[in-house]
């Protein structure tokens, strides 16, 4: 494969597209699929056949268009976006291609939810067919790989990533360039590259959207990374709960192999790289890199002390690069446009964009990609459309079980790694859950503690016993049976877990408690002293709540 051949594929693809004037793109990512978008796609295809429009109109399944709550979403070549489309609307949709838009289904795209986004990682999501490599190539795909392989040395690729200022999108924000260069310099008989697609944070589904909407981008990023660090084998570690992402990744790998973009002597160079898929089996702790490696080795996913870091001794004791889906997805555009271009987006310390899964009691739920440094208020109120049902905003939770709840006075804070950490939360992988006044913060803290308690692998005592103790106290508080002394113990336990646990799960498990204690201490005291839950969640049996 050469650049000319890529151009050839892109030209053929564009030629074929030009012959057909109209296009109907139906979202077939998991969100819309669960609202029966496959039926919509089939109905449109059947209608095209019935009308004999085969040479006039083409229907295409595409990845996530972002506004998941309003699905199924359909975009047409007449530049219209439609929401809540049903299979019975197929005829009307086709009629609208040459006529006025269907007002009934119209979805406005001139609103902040779409306008404020800056799409880099998700630029192809909702545009290309994720199951066709030709579509990705026509959108400029695999050019970066060829450029890296043929025009750049390994150090140059790493240099470009370092200049870009890209930081790990899995949550911790470790500088990607530095990680790559550590693996590059490490000595080993063989090196491995791993893509962490074990998106375990409840409330986060950005990585799934990217994998379902544009799997080739992640694959390309990973191959470039493997070239840069000198890895010859790679693994995608994907959650078994994401069957569609797994299916599309498998297709992508097969297609790339067929075109010689993956496998032995890629594009006729001396670089060979093969990729395998490994399914996670539902263990949150496997998002931790040493636990993930243990899982790939077929063992229980328990972490081990670091150092040695996986960059020095990882999979099978060899130097191993582990990056998250979104990190890899950022690589091709950085190589294509240069690190300096990427460094021009975002803030001083946090470059580029971040994809967030915006959910909770908010009007517009879905996936958004925003430049770093945007304020929480802009995301929650402008893009998210504020709280639904006229309720009052209470908090936004970022970073999953390792993150924290940010109250209203943090809304004007810029979203970047440092600001979020200073406010007591973390960037995390990108889940952003908005809560209104009907959520009790103690109950939310208990929810996350229950999560960490169940997900603790049990290897180290502070995490195994500490999360249990903390959960017990939080349960007592929500049952209105706790005392002030319990609160003191709770605070001590926060400190203990943070400093004595072996891995990130235990160290960050107290974060939801610490952050709610900081911003919503009055709620804790209300429960303890006045036996009152202002949100009306606690103290009742769940049956009464639903009644």
């Amino acid at each position: 494969m050469t650049t000319e051949e890529l151009d050839q594929i892109a030209a053929t693809e564009n030629e074929a597209r030009k012959r057909i004037p109209h296009r109907v793109n139906v979202c077939v990512a998991a969100g819309c699929l669960s609202c029966q978008s496959q039926l919509v796609k089939d109905a449109v295809a059947a209608e095209i056949t019935r009308r004999g429009w085969g040479d006039r109109c083409q229907v295409k399944g595409v990845g996530c268009m972002g506004l998941c709550a309003e699905g199924p979403l359909v975009a047409t070549s007449s530049a219209q976006l439609y929401q809540h489309v049903a299979a019975t609307d197929a005829g009307e949709l086709l009629d609208s291609l040459d006529g006025p838009p269907v007002a009934r289904l119209h979805c406005r795209t001139d609103v902040p939810f779409f306008q404020r986004q800056k799409k880099i990682v998700t630029e192809n999501c909702g545009v290309i067919d994720p199951e066709r490599i030709e579509d990705y190539i026509a959108a400029g795909g695999y050019r970066a790989l060829l450029q890296a392989l043929t025009d750049m040395t390994q150090q140059q690729v790493i240099g470009e990533i370092t200049v870009s200022g890209l930081r790990g999108r899995g949550g911790a924000g470790y500088p990607t360039g530095l990680k790559w260069s550590t693996v590059y310099k490490a000595v080993g008989t063989q090196k491995y590259a791993i893509c962490n697609a074990d998106e375990g944070d409840p409330g986060a589904f950005m990585d799934r959207s990217v994998l379902e909407g544009d799997p080739h981008r992640v694959l390309e990023g990973m191959i470039i990374a493997a070239y840069a660090v000198g890895a010859s084998e790679g693994y995608f570690y994907v959650r078994a709960e994401y069957p569609l992402a797994i299916k599309r990744l498998k297709i992508a790998i097969r297609q790339a192999e067929r075109l010689g973009l993956l496998g032995a002597n890629i594009c006729g160079t001396r670089f060979s790289f093969k990729v395998e898929l490994r399914l996670g089996a539902g263990a949150f702790v496997c998002g931790e890199e040493t636990a993930l490696i243990a899982s790939i080795e077929g063992k229980r996913g328990t972490p081990r002390p670091r150092p040695p870091y996986p960059a020095m001794e990882g999979l099978l004791g060899q130097p191993t690069l582990i990056n998250n889906v979104e990190t890899y997805a950022n690589v091709p555009p950085i190589i294509r446009n240069g690190g300096a271009w990427y460094a021009g987006i975002g803030t001083e310390q946090s470059k580029g964009t971040k994809v967030f899964a915006l959910t909770g009691t908010i009007r517009n739920t879905g996936v958004v990609e925003v430049p770093m440094g945007i304020t929480l208020r802009e995301i929650v109120f402008d893009m998210g459309g504020g709280i639904a049902n006229g309720k009052k905003f209470k908090a936004v939770q970022t970073g999953g079980p390792s993150g924290g709840c940010l109250p209203a006075d943090c809304l004007d804070m810029p979203v970047d790694y440092e600001s979020l950490a200073k406010a007591g939360s973390i960037m995390g992988s990108g889940g952003m859950i908005v809560m209104d006044e009907t959520s009790c913060m103690v109950d939310v803290a208990k929810y996350f503690m229950d999560f960490c308690m169940t997900e603790s692998c049990g290897k180290c005592v502070p995490c195994r016993v500490g999360t249990y103790q903390m959960h017990r106290i939080l349960t007592a508080i929500t049952n209105m049976t706790a005392t002030e002394a319990d609160l003191t113990v709770l605070e001590e336990l926060c400190d203990l877990l943070k400093h004595a646990s072996l891995c990130g799960l235990g160290q960050s498990a107290p974060n939801p408690v610490v952050s709610t204690l900081r911003s919503f201490a009055n709620e804790y005291r209300d429960h303890i002293h006045n036996h009152k839950c202002s949100a009306g969640v606690c103290g009742k049996r769940p049956a009464e709540v639903s009644a």
């Binding site: 998991a30 969100g31 699929l33 669960s34 609202c35 998941c68 709550a69 699905g71 998106e199 375990g200 944070d201 409840p202 409330g203 986060a204 589904f205 799934r208 078994a240 709960e241 994401y242 490994r278 399914l279 996670g280 089996a281 539902g282 263990a283 949150f284 899982s295 790939i296 080795e297 077929g298 063992k299 229980r300 996913g301 899964a357 959910t359 909770g360 009691t361 739920t365 879905g366 996936v367 939770q397 999953g400 889940g431 859950i433 809560m435 959520s439 939310v444 929810y447 996350f448 999560f451 997900e455 692998c457 769940p542 049956a543 709540v545 639903s546």
Partner: protein, 168 residues
Amino acid sequence: MATYVAKPLAPTQDKRWKLVDATMRRVGQHSRGLIETLHTVQESFGYLDEQALRYVAMSLRVPLSRAYGVATFYHFFTLKPAGEHTCVICLGTACYIKGGPQLLETAQHDLSVEPGATTTDGAVSLVTARCIGSCGLAPAVVYDQDIAGKVTSQSLHEHLQKWTRHDN
């Protein structure tokens, strides 16, 4: 004295063991492929029973304790057969604050089982999930393989009734 341990024979004549064997061949009969193999067993048989664990452990030459350890460590694996239907209630954060717990309460009440268990007649298994990633449609429930979004106690109740009604 070194003893040569031959690869054990499949426990039964069931054709599904061929799929399991194929996976083990693909991973080179190596202990590294334990999780992959267990995935295939569960996919083929629906759950992991003692016979399957023993067979996989012997074939990949790992102690039975390790196979059992892996099978019980990961939530995805189950050691009990599932019911005819499976109802998964998502309790991810977004679903939790939008009424997931109430849905679970409804399902528990309707089916008279605890999460993780199957009704006595084997009709429905009730399962909870950490997050199925359909947060945009919270609260979400998976009926067998189909994801349903914005579920209410009422719609859940109706769906479960369809499964548990024994008209015939």
